[in-house]
Symmetry: C2
Subunit: 309 residues, 2 copies
């Protein structure tokens, strides 16, 4: 397994909705994509949870906040303050609704906190858009249906280069200088004018990996095309079937509804979380069973859980 | 031991300075005074720490914030939000510098959070003043010397009523209707005009209990008269003797300086906390030893520690 392959992992930091309960923390997850660490939501205590699960705070350069309910961002100001105390030097990028910047700035000002690093706020809107792009991956937003503006995020690796089949390139006496173009998918034409098809010289690149984070939302079948076939889907499941009406009233989903989305989108694996304080640890297997009845490959978003994608 | 006697206890919720480190949380303590629970400082994660140590959040009606550095109040907005979600009905009183209200209000507004309970902010100033008074106790502020305005708090029980000596009141045939005045310290005059001295009929009330919380401060001998003889002194000890210059530069105290204050104020017991991230758990016994060399009855403010006063 190469270093690149090792690096697509999700760690659950918080799984509680609204208020911490039964020892569960508010929403937060870290997605490691090779050498990048993306923090998705940042409920109160996220920086302590990062420490607990052995993830260095300073590795995080990008933070995505799904919506401005406190259980999804109250840990942000503490994390920013800690970055400052630790004399962070690299820029920090935050992707969130515009009002978050106002809340952070007023706290920095009134606590007399002058940042020693660059803090960039990127406003994200209630639309389907690509909000982040690097050489290796891109991140898109999906509008959800919650009581306030709320977005899901889909992280997709980009297709890498084709892999050279060395036996074949030796056989066809391909010069080293031609390999870069062949990796990109081009055919090779030798000095005699013979065209050697790329498919003879290469094999397919590594399969791309993908992850979707569906934050607080009413059951929303419209999202299915946007998350079709992802390797891992996190979908909120605040309630069980016993509180389906409550889910509807509060713009949340049930475990069964999360699983229905997973099934219809043919995802490979589902993680459910954001559990209501109504459910103790002993109740969560009931929610899991309700989801599994629809989509077998489901797991609970237990804190500290690390999922290899 | 009566129920009243059982109730003067301090629980340490957080002992880390500036940033959470080595599993330690930012500053917070709960003082139980009989049926009242006073939260003193409220760093990030305080509501989870309350849960961890078995203190019901809803018992807290009064919160005191020593100063507006984030490690002393970033947990407040989450606690307020949770109170709201739990449909708190009793008023909540917060005693802090005026800017805290601005920071809380902007977050409540921009997260569309309409409180279902009364939230009262009481502005406290850089002066020595009584800021809280009930039938049973009073709380005073002490100005400290930190980089920003910072206050200490002294909690003192009021002297209770004198205790009736039943053998003596029977002997002198004191009517039940006279006992209330006697408990207050009055002498009794019988029908024959004979005065029976109160000291013959009563014994002293329970001794009053007292606690002083000395938050972030430079070594400040001026506070000694204000905390003279308290039963328990919490004094910050951010650094050890190895970093005495750093303590001076950052307006903090060393463990030895905290102990010097305890000794000069003839307090009964000292707790030191607010440890710098420079010190791992393995280093804290060194700070403790430095304090004990000056004031023997010292303990570390370990999280979860419950001290009976």
């Amino acid at each position: 397994m190469t270093n690149k392959d090792m690096g697509f992992q999700l760690t659950i930091l918080g799984s509680s909705s609204a208020t911490p309960a039964h020892g569960r923390h508010p929403s937060s997850q870290v997605l490691r994509c090779n050498n990048d660490y993306f923090l998705i939501d940042c409920g109160e205590g996220t920086q302590m949870q990062l420490h607990r699960y052995g993830i260095k705070r300073t590795l995080i350069n990008h933070i995505f906040i799904s919506h401005l309910h406190g259980d999804h961002f109250y840990g942000l100001i503490g994390l920013i303050s800690s970055f400052n105390l630790l004399k962070r030097s690299s820029p920090l990028h935050i992707y969130a609704a515009a009002d978050l910047e106002k809340m952070i700035q007023v706290q920095l000002e009134l606590t007399d906190c002058k940042l020693v690093f660059e803090l960039h706020f990127h406003t994200i809107l209630m639309e389907h858009a690509i909000i982040f792009e690097s050489k290796e991956l891109q991140i898109e937003t999906i509008p959800l249906s919650h009581r306030i503006a709320c977005l899901g995020f889909v992280v997709r690796e980009k297709l890498g280069e084709r892999k050279i089949n060395k036996t074949q390139t030796d056989r066809y006496q391909i010069p080293v200088t031609a390999l870069a173009a062949i990796k990109k998918g081009e055919d090779y034409t030798n000095t005699k004018g013979t065209v050697i098809a790329n498919s003879l010289l290469t094999t397919d690149p590594n399969p791309v990996k993908s992850f979707a984070y569906i934050s607080d939302t009413l059951f929303l079948p419209e999202i299915v095309p946007h998350i079709q076939g992802v390797d891992l889907l996190y979908h909120e499941a605040t309630f069980g079937n016993d509180r389906i009406q409550r889910a509807f009233e509060t713009f949340h989903s049930t475990a069964e509804q999360a699983a229905t989305i997973a099934k219809n989108a043919s995802v490979k694996q589902l993680i459910i979380g954001h559990f209501s304080a109504k459910y103790s640890s002993d109740d969560l297997p009931i929610l899991l069973a309700e989801a599994k009845a629809v989509f077998e490959n489901t797991n609970l978003a237990e804190e500290g859980l690390l999922i290899e994608i």
